[in-house]
């Protein structure tokens, strides 16, 4: 698949924003971490801005954006529609929760607490829907797996955890150890899930040029595609990443996306570095996970490529 920058940017930032909000609301409402009013507001606003920027960038790849409002009306069958509905539904709850913190300080009443928790639930459901947009496509075996939404959720939460530790590092005398430990765990789970995915995806299954053409008892080779220049199909689905680029990027995913952030947070846990180190860990993780998302699209091979001569996907 052609890796479109707007979609890579959208899935990473909105995932991180939803992840941050989820962790913030849960840790704050259940009193697991002592947070000041300022910290909650700042973290909340950063989360909402990331989500908003991400959602806005997702409309950039529409060829006819004037009809974008119609995308909310096929909730019954379309994951793309569901994602839009949940993302919009998330906002009033998240805003009410932050309003509560703004009015009442860090100690909010039951109503605002409920708003925070409902917002967190909707945030996770929205990341899940984003994953299902890709996961439900039978035409792309690299996506058609439960690992797809799982990866989206784990990576969103891991980035959210890093942002949470970074936000807490600005709060005087905050106890960041618990959140840091949690974030290291989330990063480790995300890394493990991604490793499982890469092993799983390496095994070729699914349709072949034989089942695509119906000639299953002989070799089938493409003689001619019937067109001299590129078509919509070759431009959208024909992208083939260089093998060496793929290997290099996979190393980058594990080194920058998971390895280095875990290492830096371990330094914080061991008392060798201040919580400010979390900022560097966050930057590193964002770079690594952008590489991961690029690979997610670039490595996806649509079955229509079989008609253009690919023997398998």
């Amino acid at each position: 698949m052609h890796p479109a920058f707007s979609v890579i940017f959208f899935t990473v930032t909105s995932g991180a924003g939803f992840g941050l909000f989820t962790l913030l609301a849960i840790l704050h409402v259940f009193g697991l971490v002592d947070m000041t009013q300022e910290t909650v507001l700042w973290a909340g606003i950063i989360g909402l801005v990331l989500v908003a920027v991400g959602l806005m960038s997702s409309t950039f790849h529409l060829a006819n954006p004037k009809n974008a409002w119609r995308a909310f009306f096929r909730f019954k069958t379309s994951w793309l529609s569901r994602e839009g509905v949940f993302a919009v539904l998330f906002y009033p709850f998240a805003l009410l929760y932050l309003l509560g913190v703004f009015l009442q300080g860090a100690e909010i009443n039951g109503f605002f607490k409920a708003m925070g928790i409902l917002g967190a639930i909707l945030a996770v459901i929205t990341i899940f829907s984003t994953g299902m947009i890709y996961g439900c496509l039978k035409t792309i075996r690299q996506w058609n797996t439960a690992l797809t939404p799982a990866n989206y959720i784990f990576m969103g939460l891991a980035l959210g955890g890093l942002l949470m530790v970074s936000a807490l590092s600005y709060q005087d005398g905050a106890d960041v150890m618990g959140v840091t430990g949690l974030t290291v765990t989330l990063l480790a789970i995300a890394a493990l899930a991604k490793a499982v995915y890469y092993f799983w995806v390496a095994k070729v299954t699914g349709p072949t040029i034989n089942t695509a053409t119906g000639f299953t008892r002989a070799a089938v080779r493409l003689l001619d595609t019937g067109h001299t220049a590129g078509t919509f199909l070759t431009e959208e689905f024909g992208y083939e990443p260089d093998h060496s680029v793929v290997t290099a990027l996979k190393t980058l995913v594990f080194a920058l996306g998971f390895g280095l952030p875990i290492l830096l947070l371990a330094l914080v846990l061991a008392g060798q570095a201040g919580p400010g180190m979390a900022l560097w860990a966050t930057v590193s993780a964002f770079l690594g996970i952008i590489a991961e998302r690029w690979l997610f699209f670039a490595e996806a091979r649509h079955v229509v490529n079989l008609y253009h001569g690919a023997q398998h996907t």
Binding site: N64, T213, F215
Partner: protein, 231 residues
Amino acid sequence: MRLGLVIDIDTCVGCHACATACKQWNTSGTTGPLTDYRPYGENPSGVWFNRIRHYEIGDYPNNKTINFPMSCMHCEDADCVTVCPTGASYKRAEDGVVLVDQTKCMGCNYCSWACPYGARELDRESGTMKKCTLCIDRIYDEELEEIDRQPACVITCPAHARYFGDFDDPNSEVSKLVRERAGMQLMPELGYNPTNRYLPPRLTTPIPTDDVRKTDLISSVKQWVNKAIAR
């Protein structure tokens, strides 16, 4: 009713007449125009509802060239319709034809990702998704003579390799052809249950070559002269 096409791979000669006729009819039809990009420039491209590809089946000397026209299969379980977030893509209950409402489409490309058969192409000019309409503006047009109420590609085909009809009617020509010639679906394992069927090549007895006369002296000399003299 379940309308669709039968394509006879045995007789298709790969002339691209159906694709050209399709483009000609539909560019001024309900989902037209079928925009061309750089039509007279380098690398001309554009929107087509029907494309013909060519394959080689088997290994020499037991090989065969196959011409393979593909347009929308008007699938029974069409994921292109279920994934569409705007409702622009729909499948008509009365005849099973899958269409795109050009006034509702937001050009997100999602349906083209969900289609295994490459039947959907985004028109970059209008920003909307376009696809084979099964010539919906021909097959119901009472102004046309009955014999002309067929898709443009079917009428045009000089090899008579395309048939249009109702697959729900067991006595229709398409149903009979599928029965008699083992009409097949493409990539059935994906579960889209495509309506269009393909008729595989008929079994033929190989033309014997062992009785071909061995070359005599005169023709050998002729061959040698032909090779030796550069033109």
